[in-house]
Subunit: 216 residues, 2 copies
DNA sequence: GTCTATAAATCGATAGAC
DNA sequence: GTCTATCGATTTATAGAC
């Protein structure tokens, strides 16, 4: 409880104020609308001061990105409670897309902006370090597929990693298309997601002999 | 062959030069890198001159967008030759995504930029005018689903429009995720597309009774 | 630690000379 | 029809006073 501690505390507080102001701007107007001047106005400090707390604008973006990723994970964690592997996979698709629909600017920042921020979440090279938050969350989906295969809910062939990337990209498509070209889709986005997950899971559950076309 | 005609010809030529220069910039560096100054430098005219041929930067973007859409349609038309409705649907997914992979900046301009350009392709309100190029191309996919249903290749229930939007958004997901976060996906994008189309079509072909879970 | 002031670089768009 | 010149408004980031 000395002077040094107080200074550190105050420094951390202002840093948090900067992030809070930046988060509000990004959530309201998108990342490209985030400027040092706006942050300075919001926290009632000169723009120059911000550079004493963050290297540059990108560093703020990276930090916001990491926090938004935690937000996404918070959306997904309840799915872990679902025992039925088939329903768990459906829940993953639903929760992931719901995060996007309900937090459009956060989703934009995470997955629709320059990949520079993503790289902070995923390993820069192919280390696949399980400590990376992105890798950890993705592994959750992979495990769900593995469990579904083990339980016989879906076909045992097929690389779980590839399957996870397949549903991830497909779900991303519904969200990103909805966010970019809102009024173009005639069908309700949530209905598309449900149809998509159902169709994919049914396609994976199908015994190979039951398809209409067997050859040619 | 009078003076008036020559002037009109020259005017059209310069207009085309502007578009060619703009197209090259957008294809190389993306739409946000397109500036009137760069165009002026490229065609060796003052930036001010460009405003005599296009209202503003957005008008150039709209024109480029329309041309890129024709490019996309050129990728898709060969699929019309495929008689087998099941294979035609697979071909649609493959050709659509191939356009995106091979023409990333055009794809970005069409489907990953401000919706202002899309609106030039799709009806501004819900008129669904079949003359709109976007509506026309989308109808092509809808018709493919209708044909597949009629031929018994996929289940007869399910709105063809919703099905078309489902595969469209799913394919869009693979392309946009690949373009935005290239190195994040472990699986080859083309492999994801194939797996996705196969799985979806198999899911649609499945008789309802053959799924693993029948109730609960 | 914070500020003012400013550098240095953009940009879109326009007025007016020629 | 084209140009020069410029307005006016951005931006990020920094130098240096206090």
């Amino acid at each position: 409880m000395g002077i040094v501690e107080r200074k550190e505390r105050q420094r951390a507080e202002l840093r948090e104020q900067i992030l809070t102001a930046a988060r509000r701007i990004v959530l309201d107007e998108g990342f490209e609308a985030l400027t040092m001047r706006k942050i300075g106005d919001a926290i009632e400090y000169s723009p120059a001061t911000i550079y004493l707390y963050f290297e540059n604008r990108e560093a703020i973006g990276r930090q916001l990105c990491a926090e938004s990723f935690e937000h996404l994970i918070a959306y997904m964690t309840p799915v872990g409670q679902i025992a039925d592997p088939y329903e768990r996979l459906r829940g993953i698709g639903r929760c992931y897309t719901r995060f996007g629909f309900e937090n459009p600017e956060e989703y934009r920042l995470l997955f629709m902006t320059d990949p520079a921020f993503m790289e902070a979440l995923f390993p820069p090279d192919n280390t696949a370090d399980p400590k990376d938050p992105g890798e950890r969350a993705f592994q959750f989906v992979v495990d769900a597929f593995r469990a579904a295969q083990a339980a016989g809910a879906i076909r045992p062939d097929g690389d779980p990693v590839a399957l996870a990337e397949m549903v991830w990209t497909a779900c991303h498509g519904v969200v990103s298309m909805t966010l970019t070209c809102n009024h173009v889709l005639e069908t309700r986005p949530e209905a598309i997601v449900d149809m998509l997950c159902d169709t994919i899971l049914r396609g994976l559950a199908t015994p190979l002999t039951s398809t209409v076309r067997s050859a040619s």
